[in-house]
Amino acid sequence: MKQKRLHIDWTACDGRGLCAELLPELLAEDDWGFPTPRDGAAEPAVPPALEPEARRAVDRCPALALRLVS
């Protein structure tokens, strides 16, 4: 099963910070509140254990800036 990744649409992201709260293992916040992948990748890998939280982050993002891609 291919590893899921979290895709951030930067043209939509407004740094509201809900995703960093829901996925603290994957995302930190930068100086302006925008999500910063901890693994340094443009699309951070989402381990299966964190998939439910990732789906919640995708669903709750006020800007609809997140997508789970494989």
Binding site: G15, R16, G17, L18, E21, W32, G33, R60, A63, L64
Partner: protein, 194 residues
């Protein structure tokens, strides 16, 4: 039975108004991007959504009980077309308008991922229209309108929404306001065709 339905209809109407007030206040709180009362941002966001769904439950109860109550003379068509009702048609019509606005806001929110952020946001702004219409409906239509407690509740709700609205418009509203606002640079826009 009719009495029980009638009381439930009025009571659920008032509860709906109070809940809608809570939803508006929580909506402003969610938009601010701040944590509140020790709750993380996503929790404030979820609270806003759950309060809205609860408000819908009471709103549906309010409408259904009125449909079932023969004294109220409410017809299905009155739910769709405002201002043609049998009882105080104007004020009841406002209730219809508020109901339809709530339906639009809730449905677009549930289908957010499908319709995209821009369409969702455009409809969501109607919440600021929906709430005063609901208040007017409650004051104009409810047979309780002469009672002091309804006025007291309505004024409290109005004060809460006014405060939330003032906060929404205030300067330091969003967290991290030293953030540069995102806006597509003018120079990238296509010029008028010469």
């Amino acid at each position: 039975m009719t009495n029980a339905l009638w009381y439930f209809a009025r009571g659920s109407g008032v509860v709906s108004l109070v809940l809608l007030t809570v939803v508006v206040a929580l909506g402003v709180g969610a938009r601010s991007g701040r944590t509140a009362f020790g709750l993380p941002r996503f929790a404030v966001n979820l609270l806003h959504r759950n309060a809205a769904l609860l408000a819908v439950v009471f709103l549906v109860g309010h409408v259904v009980s009125l449909l079932l109550d023969s004294y109220a003379k409410l017809r299905i068509v009155d739910l769709l077309v405002p201002f043609i009702g049998n009882y105080r048609p104007f004020w009841q019509g406002l209730g219809t308008v508020a109901l339809e606005l709530v339906a639009a806001i809730v449905v677009t929110s549930l289908l957010r991922q499908r319709i995209g952020a821009r369409a969702w946001r455009a409809v969501h702004w109607l919440a600021y229209l929906c709430w005063p219409v609901a208040v007017a409906h409650g004051l104009g239509n409810g047979t309780d309108r002469s009672t002091w407690w309804l006025w007291a509740i309505t004024m409290t709700c109005a004060a809460a929404v006014a405060a939330a609205g003032a906060w929404r418009l205030s300067a330091g509203f969003a967290r991290l306001e030293h953030k540069t606002p995102r806006r597509v640079a003018r120079r990238l826009e296509l010029e008028e065709v010469r």
